[in-house]
């Protein structure tokens, strides 16, 4: 019993800085993947490659298949045809547990769990790294503490998650994904429901973590301006196809606004930093 209750992390917090770092960043390869639900094709032979350590944003309208593509990339969904691989390993042949050691996926929203503390939630990210019975493993708690520290939520470790604000909760959920200690991080609209300040905070945080931990990041973002500003490369999806991809400078154009987002608009430059800024004018009539 004492093994279950005793909390070894208290004794080992000091060594959190020595926690294992993920090895060299991994490449994520989505190769001609198709997927659909009965009566509806969601993705049609989509190919997308994220290089090791690259920060890629996935943009497009609601329902264009972004979230589905992310789930396929995480191995939570299996493609009907085509192949998803991480560092060459086929995700379709990988068990759920094994896949979660390679790819962490942060969903848009998570239901509230009454009474669950920040530490208890973040520790759930260690599930895949543990033995079959879920017993604690050496190093587990260091990784948990480090994940909380990396996103700056360690001071609230023993507070209930429900008691936090939206921005704080989002950081806790980011810590949960980081606790998986994977080389690939997939984020599904991590800035939803956040105000401007917290949107900036979360994206800056992801950028910083990407640099520090050498993460490969694929992120779905609704805000094209933020995507253009933070991502190295944009991939625009439309009706289950890749409509455009490349660095923000070359991808964000009035043509992209028209074809991918269905709006008439102009694209300017940030006067100081030079990144593209969109000025949407009006929605186009859908064909």
């Amino acid at each position: 019993m004492s093994e279950l209750i005793g909390d070894p992390e208290s004794a080992t917090t000091d060594s959190a800085a020595d926690a294992p770092t993920p090895g060299p960043a991994a490449a994520l390869d989505v190769d001609r993947v198709s997927f659909g639900y009965p009566g509806r094709r969601v993705l049609d032979r989509v190919s997308l490659r994220v290089r090791p350590g690259e920060f890629v944003a996935l943009v497009g309208l609601n329902g264009c298949g972004k979230s589905t593509l992310l789930r396929l990339a995480a191995g939570v969904l299996r493609p009907e045809s085509g192949r998803v691989s991480v560092d060459g390993a086929d995700m379709a042949r990988t068990s759920r547990r094994e896949a979660a050691r390679k790819v962490a996926l942060l969903h848009q929203a998570a239901p509230a769990v009454p009474g669950l503390t920040v530490r208890q939630l973040v520790r759930q990210g260690r599930y895949a790294a543990r033995g079959p019975l879920g017993m604690l493993r050496v190093g587990d708690d260091e990784v948990t503490v480090r994940a909380m520290r990396d996103v700056g939520v360690d001071a609230w470790a023993d507070r209930p998650v429900d008691a936090l604000s939206g921005g704080e909760r989002q950081r806790v959920r980011l810590a949960l994904a980081l606790a998986q200690d994977t080389p690939v991080l997939l984020l599904d609209e991590p800035t939803t429901y956040l105000d401007l300040r917290h949107q900036l905070e979360v994206l800056q945080l992801v950028g910083r973590l990407r640099d520090e931990r050498r993460l490969t990041v694929l992120m779905v973002l609704h805000d094209l301006d933020l995507a253009a500003r933070f991502a190295e490369r944009l991939v625009a999806l439309r009706d289950g196809h890749v409509a455009a991809e490349g660095p923000p400078d070359s991808v964000v154009t009035p043509g992209l606004l028209r074809e991918v987002f269905g709006i008439e608009g102009r694209v300017g430059r940030d006067p100081e930093r030079g990144w593209p800024v969109c000025y949407p004018d009006r929605p186009l009539r859908l064909p």
Partner: protein
Amino acid sequence: MTLTERAPTAAPEPERSTPRWRRPVLVLGALLLAVPLAAMLDLVAGRALSIGETWQALTGGAADSTAHHLVWQVRLPRVLVALGAGAALGLAGLILQAALRNPLAAPEVTGVTPGAVLGAVAATGAGLADWASPAAVMLAAVGGGLGGAGLLWLLTGRRHADPAGIAVHGVLVSAALGGLTAVTLLAAPGEIGSVVQWMVGTTEARTWQHWTLLWPWALGWGVLACLTAGPLMLLRCGEDVAEAAGLAPARARGLALLCAVALTAGAVASVGALGFIGLVVPHAALALFGADLRVALPGAALAGAVAVCGADAAAQLMSRAVNAWGAEQLSVPVGAVTTFVGAGVLLVVARRHAVEP
């Protein structure tokens, strides 16, 4: 201002983490002490013997053979069965609430308890089992409980991942099975008195045979249930989080529900359809131990044992009082106590939840 400046980065001091586990451990210790206390109370609560006589019989002192028989053959098995059934029901309730992500999920409303009742009643009605032979009744109840849960499983079809769907179908299945039990009783009235007592939940006339049937079953499934604490905790966090963290939710949920069904069926088979224990005890366990199911699951088992045993003691004391008023033959079944107290506690829980956003 950058994030790093604003974010609290102070390392938590090692001392701070001590109270974090001290509280659950203290509560667990207190509950461990409460178990023998409740058992002792239950042991001396019966009407025929005084406390002194009970103690003498228990310690093998100079007691007459009737007292010895009463304590060793009637009261002790009754107390043990109450403890075991309570532990099983508390555990089953917490598993159901966590796996279905529903604070109102309980054995009573997931088809398990009504199925077990129907199984036992139908078996006795058909003459396949007899109230004097616990083994056959227990077998029928376990079969019925599994059948009720299986029916729910079939009805929810491909929507096993949807907790709300399971809850709604569970209420429907439970109502239908309850109706079938009533029909069976009308068709084959037989020993309607003992059946009705059992449907309310009773610890009267439990024998060592009940105990020998109950404890290995409850212990085995209980240990298995506690070992699934990790996956259960992920299930409680939601399908998406569980899957992303590396759990195959369908399989984990199936195993957890199997544990809950087996535990419930075992408990119902030995004490009948004790109301509200599986619904209320999990709330108490989560409030006492926090959301860490590695502690809360064994905690729920202990809390359930204390609750049922305490309720049984209360029921016996009430029977004494009722007898003193003149109703000689009347005895209050423990199920009546758990239902009344449980309903009250649930009312408080519901109100507290309603106030929270």
